[in-house]
């Protein structure tokens, strides 16, 4: 949106913060948005993302290769967290597992955000029968628990990370679409949208260039929260054997694979993989909540 257009439409351009010394300014800004706990959470997420990006270069051992002659080795300099029941290095699998454990949720949130936004904005713009039709379709999808819908998808198209992620995204779409629709509906009735219509700007342009940017925070916040849920749900699918397939490293799969070892007195594999999921999900959820809370506060001020 150009500044002239903003003036015409009555929307306010984002305030330009006074330039502070670069690093201190960024930290202050981040602290205002997230708080100290949020910064710690962001740090955790950054570490996990780093592990996902560079983990494969950092792993001391091939995370998919082991020998039963090396199974259940204890902590040592060679194997920081010991080995699993197949003799694979647990630390290497945790690092490598970060990638698969994040790629799946990423597919879920992107698919959910795109599909959910498209449906919500179409329903809001066209209204009437289109809105009702989309609403009923979403109601039908709402009737199925998300995990059940994902299991159904995997049963039809076969197990794997992409199938599981897309199946899960389909289950998430109704939740996202409904939230985005409620915010977009408010925007739809604001004077700047009417003004744009009177200017003869077509619906697609108004939706994409004016409405979408104003619901963007909601989409981003929802995606952050969905990311956490998706990690847990995909881990559950992997646990059930419907997601990532062995011998690939994945946190959910590691919990599943470690079940029998748990009983044998070797909890390390399941314990650390579970810990990674809990910490990552908690961090993502906290950031999402903070962003969502600030966005809501901003709106109420407006």
């Amino acid at each position: 949106m150009t500044s002239n257009e903003s003036a015409v439409l009555g929307t306010q351009p984002a305030a330009t913060p006074q330039r502070l010394p670069a690093a201190a300014g960024r930290l202050t800004s981040l602290r205002r948005r997230l708080g100290w706990v949020g910064i710690a959470c962001a740090g955790i997420v950054a570490v996990v993302v780093l592990a996902a990006l560079a983990g494969q270069f950092l792993v001391p051992y091939d995370p998919t290769v082991g020998s039963v002659t090396q199974r259940h080795l204890g902590y040592s300099a060679e194997h920081l967290l010991g080995t699993d029941q197949a003799g694979r290095d647990i630390f290497s699998r945790l690092l490598a597992g970060a990638r698969t454990s994040l790629i799946g949720p990423l597919i879920v949130v992107i698919t959910t955000a795109v599909a959910g936004s498209a449906l919500a904005l179409a329903a809001v713009w066209f209204g009437g029968k289109t809105d009702a039709f989309i609403g009923r379709v979403l109601d039908v999808l709402f009737a199925f628990p998300s995990l059940l819908l994902a299991i159904l998808g995997v049963a039809i198209f076969g197990p794997g990370i992409v199938t599981a992620s897309i199946a899960l995204a389909v289950a998430y779409v109704p939740y996202s679409a409904r939230v985005i629709r409620s915010v977009a509906l408010r925007e739809r009735n604001l004077p700047y949208v009417k003004a744009a219509e009177l200017q003869g700007i077509n619906g697609l342009t108004i939706t994409l260039r004016h409405v979408l940017p104003n619901v963007w925070t909601q989409i981003l916040t929802g995606s952050t929260i969905n990311f956490g849920y998706a990690i847990v749900d995909l881990a559950a699918l992997s646990f059930l054997g419907l997601g990532i397939q062995p011998p690939a490293a994945d946190w959910g799969l590691m919990i599943s694979n470690g079940q029998e070892s748990l009983q044998q007195g070797f909890p390390e594999q399941s314990l650390y993989a579970g810990l990674c999921i809990v910490v990552t999900v908690a961090a993502m959820a906290y950031i999402g909540e903070r962003l969502g809370g600030r966005a809501a506060a901003g709106r109420s001020k407006q």
Binding site: V65, R71, Q263, P267
Partner: protein, 545 residues
């Protein structure tokens, strides 16, 4: 200790990272010594009102004996429906519902039936019931899981006297009586079968048999209760326990905990992950028995693994002794053959001697590389091995094969499928499409290597999943089947075994022992692997504790 550490948070985590590694080393028995393995458990001293058992493989899909061809059904049906012959805990075969057999010639068998046998409804078992039951395998509408080359060889089944049935075969089969110890020889009441219609064998209509137990309450998805049949014909083998409730728990952790706490009195096939926990249990005892089971990887005959040289090379290169020692907690031994060690009830010395000529189980990479040079297939194509995802130990075994494969330049890809879907690999060729191999914990129905090898490598064998066919093996199988002298037949069978192991339609992994756990209050069941066709529950009684 670990729980407290975890709850203490980060400091505890540090402790975990630096020092505390749980679990004690497995105290393994020595199942490599056949003499160490048990046949029976101590005889009971008291009768009991009720015992709770567990069928670790889950609920039977049907209790119709001709549809009982796998662990879930057979472990239950063995107590309900009896066959003309019966396997004994020492693997010998004895006449059961058939009192005696007379061979008129090598294709005609005349069976005298036991007198005084009644079905649970009190009706006497007649020769007509026996004829009807045997003919069920020949009736395509009955869809017998036991219809195979064995039953296809039956030319006629006739009632030749009030208590006499004659079976005529198309070609000689010296193993036929042994086959009748399986559900091939199971006898059901004709009238009830005809009346039950399509519901036969289901919880609604059930079955009508002559066994020491009848069907009591069947809580679908939970358990089936067997009620003692007080009119059982064999008074010497009358059940010692009034009711046996067989539960269908399949989760290894739940099974282990239920056994350890005494919620379940006993179970065969104790999960491997529970061995450590149960071997030190004060509530009961873990027994290791003689077995007819082995774990193998079945080639579908397609892809890279379709080449016998690849199969042999992979077997040679894989450390199966390590698999037996670690994955199986020392309760198994590396398999030298597809016939489990000791799986014979005749020609013992001949089979034992023949085993000495089979390749050793020690991994030999150099020899494997030499063998692989004979392969005529594209070795770059990955080998996809399918396993049931709920049994994670299979993934560890395939991983070990993948390690060996990597040393030979072969790429092995494990592929997990849900347990319910995996069953189709054994019955539906379409399910096997796209897979190069799939795993099995297989078993011999009876301790007859000729039957077992015929099922695996015979052109129409029940377990020939790859269309495997070798003229020399086929000819020797026929010759052995036509040989009535036990030793002569054993020699021919040993030749078949050597030829089969040279082609390896299946890759042998380990020979298992039978893992049995019983609480302190019960005893008596066979420790050996006969619970699929022997009425084990009838032997269960109390210890007096």
């Amino acid at each position: 200790m670990n729980k407290k550490i975890i709850s203490a948070g980060a400091a505890g985590l540090l402790l975990l990272l630096t020092g505390c590694h749980g679990g004690a080393a497995a105290k393994a028995p020595d199942p490599s010594n056949q003499k160490d393995l048990l046949v029976t458990t101590p005889a009971p001293t008291t009768n009991l009102d009720k015992i709770v058992w567990n069928n670790n493989f889950g609920e039977p899909p049907s209790i119709d004996p001709i549809k009982s061809a796998d662990y879930p059904a057979s472990g239950v049906v063995s107590n309900l429906c009896e066959s003309l012959f019966q396997i004994q805990p020492d693997f010998s075969i004895k006449p059961n519902l058939a009192k005696s057999v007379k061979n008129i010639d090598n294709t005609t068998y005349v069976y005298q039936l036991q007198e005084g046998v009644t079905f649970w409804d009190g009706q006497p078992m007649t020769a007509d019931d026996v004829v009807f039951s045997l003919k069920r395998h020949l009736d395509p509408n009955e869809i017998s899981y036991w219809a195979s080359d064995v039953t296809a060889n039956i030319a006629a089944v006739e009632k030749t006297g009030p208590n006499e049935v004659t079976v005529k075969l198309k070609s000689p089969d010296a193993t036929f009586d042994n086959q009748l110890a399986t559900p091939v020889g199971a006898v059901v009441e004709q009238a009830q079968r005809e009346k039950a219609g399509a519901d036969y064998g289901n919880p609604g209509a059930g079955v009508m048999c002559t066994g020491p137990y009848s069907v009591g309450e069947w809580k679908q998805g939970v358990s089936i209760t067997l009620d003692r049949y007080d009119g059982y014909w064999n008074t010497a083998k009358k059940a010692k326990t009034k009711q046996v409730e067989i539960q269908f728990i399949t989760d290894p952790s739940s099974i282990a905990n239920a056994l350890a706490t005494g919620a379940i009195d006993g179970s065969y096939d104790v999960p491997l992950s529970a061995i450590n926990q149960l071997s030190s249990s004060t509530n009961g005892q873990l027994y290791y028995g003689k077995s007819l089971q082995n774990m193998a990887i079945i080639s579908t005959g397609t892809g890279t693994l379709g080449d016998p040289a690849v199969r042999k090379a992979l077997t040679l290169a894989t450390d199966r002794e390590a698999i037996a020692k670690t994955v199986f907690e020392g309760t198994s031994t590396a398999a030298q053959s597809l016939v489990p060690n000791g799986g014979w009830n005749y020609g013992a010395q001949i089979f034992a001697d023949a085993r000495k000529d089979l390749p050793p189980t020690t991994p030999n990479i150099d020899e494997a590389k030499k063998v692989l040079k004979e392969a005529k297939v594209d070795l770059n194509k990955p080998i996809k091995i399918v396993y049931p995802i709920d049994r994670t130990f299979y993934a560890d075994i395939i991983s070990e094969f993948a390690n060996a494969g990597a040393k030979l330049g072969l790429k092995i890809e494990p592929s997990g499928v849900p347990g319910a879907q995996f069953g189709a690999f054994f019955s539906d060729p379409k399910a096997r499409a796209g897979a190069d191999a799939f795993v099995t914990t297989n078993y011999m129905n009876v301790a007859d290597p000729l039957i077992h090898l015929g099922a695996i490598a015979g052109p129409k064998g029940m377990q020939n999943y790859s269309g495997f066919s070798d003229p020399q093996i086929t000819e020797l199988l026929a010759k052995a089947k036509a040989t009535s002298d036990d030793d002569a037949r054993a020699k021919l069978t040993a030749q078949v075994e050597a030829l089969v192991m040279d082609k390896e339609p299946w890759l042998p992994v380990v020979d298992s022992s039978t893992r049995l756990f019983m609480s302190k209050r019960v005893t008596g069941v066979p420790a050996s692997f006969v619970y699929l066709y022997y009425p084990w529950a009838a032997d269960l009684g109390g210890t007096g504790k």
